[in-house]
Symmetry: C2
Subunit: 312 residues, 2 copies
């Protein structure tokens, strides 16, 4: 239902209560080939050894073109395939522009309702999904590898703002310490700047300094240290009040995205069913007046029927 963007999922999720959310949502992001899936796999193994139930959601805005990659991810995590306390799913955005973040959030709620303690949210490919995943996750891991030369580029591109923990994976490759130092010096420079946002740093409040953890995920080395960093970040968020601020920001993002998704879907329906609207559009040859007319409608016409509240 969530993947097909069935609007009636609202009633399901409301009946489950709004408070279901897994203990922890951890985002894994980084360039292709950095070993995100392998790291996720080793985190799953660690969490299972602690009897935690784990869901892995691979967020893939590129699904029409990366079917192979999705399959690859699943195969890599094969050793968990028969474990009922592990759930692995790729979510694509095909044909649902902008709907992926709402769908991901809804899937996380369901994972919570199903009793999963942890959700690992892995980005597939590069791009926008990194920012979306970071906006959804409690803790975002940015995975780097030595010698990729993308350290500086990533930091330029604003990855600093989304990293809660840096993982230098494949730390047995040459140049691992250099990569660690690069990230460290970037962090030192960033510390001299004013806090980037009130929501993240606060005025004179405690500031989270993203730790840099080295790992060799393929051998399971460093997995425990990564998890320790995640738990420290969790404690920091609780004690600093950041957890509440992030939760509020997340809910606002989700509500705004949902408004956009609903309004677009209903606009599409109205344009296909009301000849007056489409002839206006063809006459104008620009979409603005028609869009304004749609948004000016009265009542709940812009809420998909299956999603409307049952007791208005």
């Amino acid at each position: 239902m969530v993947e097909q963007r069935d609007p009636s999922v609202r009633h399901l999720l409301e009946s489950l209560g709004g408070t279901v959310r897994p203990a922890r949502v951890v985002g894994l992001t980084g360039a292709p080939g950095t070993g995100k899936s392998t790291l996720a796999d080793s985190l799953v193994a660690l969490l299972r050894s602690r009897d935690q139930a784990v869901a892995v959601i691979a967020v893939d805005p590129n699904s029409p073109f990366t079917g192979g990659a999705i399959l690859g991810d699943r195969i890599r995590m094969q050793r968990h395939a028969l474990d009922p306390k592990v759930y692995i799913r790729s979510m694509g955005a095909r044909g649902h522009m902008g709907g992926l973040s709402v769908a991901t959030r809804e899937a996380i709620r369901l994972m919570g309702a199903f009793g999963f303690d942890w959700v690992l949210l892995e980005t597939v490919g590069v791009g926008q999904s990194e920012l979306e995943v970071a906006a959804i996750a409690d803790t975002t891991l940015v995975v780097l590898t030595p010698g990729q030369g993308d350290g500086v580029q990533m930091i330029k591109a604003g990855i600093m703002e989304i990293a809660d923990v840096f993982v230098v994976n494949k730390a047995d490759l040459p140049g691992a310490q250099k990569t660690v130092q690069e990230v460290r010096s970037m962090l030192s420079m960033a510390a001299l700047l004013p806090p980037r946002s009130a929501g993240k740093a606060g005025d004179g409040a405690k500031t989270w300094r993203p730790p840099i953890v080295t790992a060799i995920a393929l051998k399971g080395e460093g997995t425990r240290e990564v998890m320790d960093a995640v738990e420290k970040h969790q404690q920091f968020q609780k004690s600093s009040g950041e957890a509440g601020q992030r939760a509020e920001a997340r809910l606002k993002d989700e509500a705004a995205d949902l408004v956009g998704e609903w309004a677009r879907a209903e606009a599409r329906r109205l344009l296909d069913t009301e000849p007056a609207l489409s002839s206006r559009l063809l006459r104008d040859r620009v979409p603005y007046a028609a869009a304004e007319e749609i948004l000016t409608r009265q009542g709940r016409e812009l809420v998909p029927e299956a999603a409307r509240s049952r007791d208005p």
Copy 2:
């Protein structure tokens, strides 16, 4: 203004009149490394030799992470940098989830108003942008290379539906004829199936069979043949009535996307400025009731102020 999603661009575009659209919008899509930029570059050279003004827009939904690639594209097209009848621009979607397709359409209108005869719309990276570009372009070129082994995968992934012309680039590499044959046999199989959509094939109407053109874009070979195929497709669309159907579908897409973009932006504003809304959200812990309340507002509250019509 377009890239910053300034809502008042509406008034500019309406004052320009809705009929400004360049003669031809050609989409270039395909996996990374297939030579899309090089092909675009050689098409620019050909069109300039015919005294046509050409704009190249590189659509990049991944901009936060591919700053380097954008620069690379520009550098590759350097030989046109001083030609006032060539305009090259990368458009990113950073922070404007879902807004890229509206922005691209607006940019195309502006290119038309500025007197450009052609717009080449190039996708950067893989993913969703292919589908978006195909929905916007008059003619979509799918660029393949020999031995990538992505023939079958691409067709599985639904690329058949968006290709108006197949270009097998780097045709001097081994396996070029095999790739041509693969695509040809896929097309033959597809021809046995019922038409995929009324808008594209019609009932018993003439059907467009995507030609397969080989090229070595780096040497400019095949460029003329690619352009011939584009022109044939243009003539087909005119004579079959498909041009009108596509124009209508495009306008509806654009209007629906605009409704979504406006509604999301205004929802965000309301959630940030109305304490009653945000406290409801925090109480509910699910976004549905707040989203419904926002969409149920009266009047033009969901149209950004700067975009509202001036004579209501």
